[in-house]
């Protein structure tokens, strides 16, 4: 181990092993995870060492191979699709595998299908007799579902639905695993019966032959071409021309077209959205927070190894570790704090959704609006924050950060996609804002409101009581500041909206004129709840092995960094004074120096193996330069003779004179 990293580990103020166990949810979970990771890593099929060198075709093929091999491996090891092991496996794979949409396909059938449909399709899918995808987004429409243009027309004579892509913008576009792999897909289409449109419904459509894998008649399907990342995924397009499917292929747990064409509905239509709502939350851990944790691990370890300039120019001492520069700490440590904050809010959201799911299974939809608001707002905030966090880590690693071998570019291009899929972030913030405005009105009218927003009816306090910079390490002080800011941003948006409507502006136009403010209010709400949850989590920890103390520091840092970065919102209307803002800044900068000492142990606690980080800069032993050099030598550009020399360079070097 590089002595620069070893020394960082000697001075940890807490037990890394203990913290890892907390993050995993118990020491036995840590043991299980490590055992599974060990089993996978020992298998060369899962090695990702060459991934940075591979072409789109090679990556796709490797991902399919892994997916197939994983099935075999799971059988061998006795891991089941619903067992606790699966989570660890996918955490390790971090999405670099094909057929992930197959799981979404199965889940949507389970949630949206009738018992009969579940009985028919799930066994087929479980045995991979069919491979599924999930086709919602179209070329012309993404987040706005009602705008989808694919049609499914019921034909009473044959008891079939006729599916069509009436124009080019209606082509399905983006669904994963559909370009090359899938045989079936769940298509979302506008349902027409007797010429009447009943809105968007899901249909199971076979798109490729089960014999030769060629597209079925009427189906045009292919890959949508290279993207910023996800080279291994065959995101696809799909055009349907008079494709007929039996009546039984419309997923009908909540509504059905009967043989005579009667449309019946049981239960709320909102249920269609529950899958989506749950997916938004389910992506957070693996696809959003994990990349930030990895990026922090890489950047922090590298910053403890990289030395640059001397802090004291003429002294004989070594050049300083870049982690000792305040500007470097200010880039990285808030990201580290955020990674922990989001880990904890994610646990909270999962608990909330699990109980919500129980209720919905019992056909009680009361909690749906709040869950929907939660999933929208937090998905938007967490993805936005983590994306910028990963990019900050990338740019904090100087030139080497841009090498694919650092692992950071691919983490970044992957996490940033999460800002768009499963709902575009601005649209999602506005959905949360709509919910908040409703609650705010209800609170003003003295009506009951959901638990997450009861703070909206709290009384307006005068000013922040803090007098000393240490006061800002008191969670009650900063939580109140966040609360006040969230309330003010929302109430001023509500007032403006009200004012516009009263002055005769049409409702929709008034809403549009307030959207910048409303999105900001929704974000402030989520930020506040994240701080509040972090505080609550810290309070529940005991201080065994120094865990609570270091988590309290991180919680303070997360909160104060938020105030420092959004100073205007807290200064406005004088809740915090200018002098208090100076205290916040002082306290915030002090915390950087404190957390600096534990920075490496804090990323060690995430417990990523070197193989899962797949980074020359971030390995546990800190042998950065050696690894970078050896890895680069394996690049195909160094193994093959480039045809460019013989074809172009040689003539250029040797014949130019004669040609000139």
């Amino acid at each position: 181990v590089n002595p620069d990293l070893a020394s960082e580990r000697l001075t940890a103020s807490f037990s890394v092993e203990e913290l890892t166990a907390r993050l995993d949810g118990g020491a036995e979970h840590t043991r299980m995870r490590r055992a599974i990771v060990g089993a996978i890593e020992s298998d060369p099929v899962f090695s990702r060492e060459n991934q940075y060198f591979q072409s789109q075709n090679e990556r796709y093929e490797a991902a399919v191979r892994r997916a197939v091999y994983l099935q075999k491996k799971m059988r061998e090891m006795g891991w089941t699709e619903n067992g606790p092991e699966v989570k660890c496996i996918y955490r390790w794979l971090s999405g670099d595998i094909a057929l992930l949409l197959h799981r979404i396909f199965m889940r949507s059938i389970s949630v949206l299908g009738s018992e009969k449909q579940v009985a028919k399709w799930i066994p087929l899918a479980t045995d991979y007799q069919i491979i599924g995808s999930y086709a919602q987004t179209e070329l012309g429409h993404g987040t706005y579902l009602q705008g989808l243009e694919t049609t499914a027309i019921f034909d009473i004579a044959t008891q079939e639905f006729i599916l069509n892509t009436p124009k080019i913008s209606a082509m399905k576009w983006w669904p994963g695993d559909m370009g090359r792999s899938a045989t079936h897909t769940v298509v979302f289409a506008q349902l027409y019966v007797h010429g009447k449109c009943y809105g968007v419904h899901p249909f199971i459509v076979q798109i490729r032959s089960l014999q030769d894998h060629l597209p079925c008649p009427g189906v045009t399907v292919g890959d949508i071409g290279p993207k910023m990342n996800f080279e291994h995924v065959d995101n696809g397009y799909l055009m349907l021309q008079n494709v007929r499917i039996p009546r039984e292929n419309m997923l009908s747990k909540f509504c059905e077209v009967q043989p005579d064409g009667t449309y019946v509905r049981w239960g709320s239509q909102k249920i269609n959205y529950f899958t989506m709502t749950a997916v938004r939350i389910s992506i957070l851990s693996e696809e959003v927070i994990l990349p930030l944790m990895k990026a922090c691990t890489i950047a922090v370890r590298y910053s403890a190894v990289r030395r640059q300039s001397k802090l004291k120019p003429f002294s004989g001492e070594q050049e300083a570790k870049i982690l000792d520069y305040q500007t470097q700490q200010q880039k990285l440590l808030p990201q580290l704090a955020a990674a922990y904050a989001f880990h904890f809010i994610n646990i909270y959201l999962h608990e909330l959704f699990n109980s919500g799911y129980q209720e919905i299974q019992g056909r009680n939809f009361d909690s749906l609006p709040e869950l929907h608001a939660f999933s929208s707002g937090f998905k938007a905030m967490v993805t936005q924050y983590c994306t910028s966090g990963v990019e900050i880590c990338l740019r904090a690693c100087g030139g080497h950060g841009y090498s694919l071998l650092s692992g950071l570019p691919s983490l970044y291009t992957k996490v940033l996609a999460s800002c768009i899929y499963e709902g575009e972030n601005t649209v999602l913030f506005l959905q949360t804002a709509r919910f908040l405005i409703k609650c705010f009105k209800a609170a003003s009218a003295g009506q009951p409101i959901p638990p997450s927003v009861t703070y909206l009816s709290s009384t307006k306090p005068r000013e922040c009581p803090a007098k000393d910079k240490l006061d800002f390490l008191n969670p009650d002080i900063y939580m109140k500041a966040y609360e006040q800011t969230a309330i003010r941003l929302l109430s001023s948006s509500a007032a403006k909206l009200q004012h516009l409507i009263l002055s005769g502006v049409e409702k929709h136009e008034a809403w549009n004129q307030c959207t910048v403010q409303l999105a900001k209010a929704a974000k402030a709400h989520c930020h506040y709840l994240t701080v509040k949850n972090f505080v609550a989590t810290v309070e529940k920890l005991d201080n065994k092995a120094g865990i609570q103390k270091i988590m309290k520091h991180l919680c303070d840092l997360f909160a104060l960094h938020g105030i420092f970065s959004n100073a205007g919102d807290f200064l406005y209307d004088g809740y915090l004074s200018g002098a208090q803002m100076d205290l916040v800044t002082a306290s915030y900068l002090d915390l950087l120096a404190v957390i600096r000492k534990d920075a490496v142990p804090l990323v060690d606690a995430f417990d990523f193996t070197d193989k899962s980080l797949n980074s020359a800069l971030g390995a546990y032993d800190g042998q950065v330069y050696q690894r970078l050099y050896e890895w680069a030598q394996k690049s195909p550009s160094n193994l093959q003779v480039s045809p460019a020399y013989a074809k172009y360079l040689k003539p250029l070097l040797q014949n130019t004179l004669s040609k000139l």
Partner: protein, 625 residues
């Protein structure tokens, strides 16, 4: 431009579908061709070469960049006449292809830390070059990996047992004729990166590699045959090159952001989504306030940076005139200012390009949008030619120095002259910024004053904190480090002020009334949006009140609606041709969806109707289960 665009030799398949090796090959092909054509058309002016090159490669990097941009110019400025005779013409004729090897694995921005050594051996009159550690391996130089046969290597010079600091040496690295590495040289490509696929950034390791004494660039410093070292006269001159390169990056920031804005705004005018009013057709997404709020401030920023880039270039040319007459007095300020502006504009443009991409939803993520490519090509400029945070701190050093001069009773000139006002304020106990400024939010000139007050406030605050740290701690360096977050903020505020000031000054130069009107709107939007994003500073410094902040926020949104009708025209004015933009979403004709479908069909994964993976993996799996 037309010369290149209409030349069939410069056409090629869509780069997005090519592998890295194929992209390198295409770039080399075009570069070789370009050199021939430059000679054929007799183009020799550096400015014209730059334009020709940027059309051939459509603004993308290419393997000969370092040869043309660094190797040849360094020969011109640092080689003796004898050396020029030996190397320049062969290099000009491309018998020698060179690169510039400065950065090492372990050191980039901090040049003094470089570890490569060149030890003089008087017995043979040679320098012995060595890469003594792994960290000393040269790493990143463009064109080094596969293309070059020579490199200008920066190394610590040792002669007569003493280290004389960094010097430049011409080192042959590959055999002429076979292109094989010479004995003692290990050279190769550093592997795939985030973008720059066509560039063979390379590594270079030297083991007791000997070059003749005459290969040290000796126009300034010299080593005599017996090993006596002769010192150079003036080392400030290197500032000039740095200023020049940074001014190019500022211009690049403007161009890259303009391209991204063009794509995002045109696409937003074509894309329809959702409904504003129930029952009505879906509106263009450009009609949503949130979309305007994302894009129009960036559009204003792109224009602002254009003016800043032009200003730096002009100032540089003016000062270069002075320098050749021996007047170096303005150089320190320009050097300090360009460091900060390089960082400020590249950070802002970097974030802006990403914002544009996000504003295009899912399709922005597809490589057909062109936005991923603009981003990966641009983003390294936050790091190369001086890491941005280090740049900001350089500017801060100058600001602090100027501030100290003012306090000690001297006057300062140029962009920092506002600091002079501080001396009169210092008699009063309160902070300078508590001085009431009456800000008129519809008057750009008044907004310049507001930005000035903010910069003054932050410079003073940073300096005060620095003093406080100095009073508490032992060393200057610790104090500087513990204040660096404040110092960076002060530099940013200073740069922001300079940009608002330059944009405002530009308005009076525009003679066409309609153009001036729309530019004034953009200038106001730029200035007011900057305030609304930094309300904390303006409130805390007492420059603006809560009510004024409200007005600023309101005015920003009004301006969005005002600019909306001109938005597409404003990006059309950037005048990027479709093949230069390289974007399906940003096409001039807006024919997006059909083109995207046609593009996708060419994807490598679509080459066969059934992918081979089906036969290799999926089918056996289905059979087995």
């Amino acid at each position: 431009e037309a010369l290149v665009i209409n030349d069939p030799d410069f056409q090629h398949e869509d780069l997005n579908f090519l592998s890295r090796s194929q992209r390198y090959e295409q770039a080399i092909r075009k570069s070789a061709l370009m050199v021939m054509k430059l000679r054929e058309y007799g183009i020799a002016d550096p400015e014209e070469i730059y334009w020709f090159k940027s059309f051939v490669h459509r603004g993308r990097p290419e393997p000969l960049d370092l040869h043309l941009g660094m190797f040849l110019p360094t020969l011109l400025t640092q080689a003796t006449p004898e050396q020029q005779n030996r190397f320049f013409m062969p290099a000009w004729n491309l018998e020698i292809i060179g690169t510039y090897a400065q950065t090492e694995m372990g050191h980039g921005t901090h040049l003094r830390g470089l570890e490569t050594t060149a030890t003089y051996d008087p017995a043979t009159q040679e320098f012995i070059l060595n890469s003594p550690t792994v960290t000393s391996i040269k790493w990143w130089p463009g064109g080094l990996g596969k293309t070059s046969n020579h490199a200008i290597v920066l190394a610590q010079l040792y002669t007569q047992g003493q280290c004389k600091g960094l010097h430049a040496f011409i080192v042959p690295i590959r055999q002429l004729g076979t292109h094989e590495p010479l004995p003692g040289i290990t050279v190769g490509d550093i592997g795939p990166k985030f973008g720059y696929d066509e560039m063979d950034n390379g590594y270079l390791k030297m083991d007791n590699f000997r070059i003749p004494r005459e290969n040290m660039l000796m126009k300034y410093a010299q080593v005599e045959p017996d090993g006596t070292y002769v010192k150079p006269l003036n080392d400030k001159l290197t500032y000039g090159t740095m200023v020049f390169i940074r001014s190019i990056i500022v211009g690049d920031s403007a161009r890259s952001l303009s391209r991204a804005c063009t794509i995002a705004i045109r696409y937003s005018a074509v894309r329809h989504q959702s409904e504003l009013k129930a029952g009505e057709p879906e509106p263009q997404i450009l009609d949503y306030q949130t979309q305007q709020y994302k894009l129009f401030p960036l559009l204003a920023t792109a224009y602002a940076f254009h003016f800043v880039g032009a200003y730096i270039k002009d100032t540089y040319h003016r000062i270069s005139g002075d320098i050749s007459e021996g007047d170096l007095s303005e150089l320190p300020e320009l050097h300090a200012l360009t460091a900060g502006l390089k960082a400020f504009t590249s950070w802002t443009a970097n974030a802006g390009i990403e914002e544009c991409r996000m504003a295009c939803g899912g399709h922005g993520y597809s490589r057909c949008s062109g936005l991923p490519d603009i981003y990966v090509t641009f983003t390294p400029s936050c790091t190369y030619e001086g890491e941005n945070t280090v740049m900001m701190l350089q500017t801060a050093r100058f600001l602090v120095k100027s501030y100290t001069q003012v306090i000690s009773g001297q006057r300062v000139t140029g962009m920092v002259s506002y600091l002079n006002d501080l001396s009169t304020q210092r008699i009063q106990p309160q902070r300078v910024a508590a001085r009431p400024v009456t800000v008129r939010i519809n008057d750009p000139v008044s907004l310049v004053e507001a930005y000035k007050a903010r910069a003054a406030w932050l410079v003073e605050a940073a300096e005060k904190n620095l003093q406080a740290e100095l009073n508490h701690r032992k060393s200057k360096e610790d104090a500087w480090n513990r204040t660096s977050v404040d110092l960076v903020r002060a530099s940013e505020a200073h740069c922001h002020y300079v940009i608002v000031k330059l944009f405002t000054a530009k308005l009076s130069e525009i003679s066409n009334a309609a153009v001036r009107a729309v530019m004034t709107e953009l200038c106001l939007l730029y200035a007011l949006y900057g305030i609304s994003k930094n309300t904390g500073d303006f409130l805390q410094a007492g420059i603006l009140t809560d009510t004024q902040i409200n007005q600023v926020n309101q005015r920003v949104k009004e301006l969005l609606a005002v600019i909306r009708p001109n938005a597409v025209a404003l990006v059309d004015s950037f005048d990027f041709r479709d093949d230069h933009l390289g974007s399906v979403l940003g096409r001039y004709d807006g024919n997006i969806y059909e083109t995207m479908f046609e593009w996708a069909k060419k994807s490598p994964l679509n080459r066969t109707e059934v992918h081979e993976s089906f036969h290799k993996h999926l089918k056996p799996m289905q059979a087995k289960l």
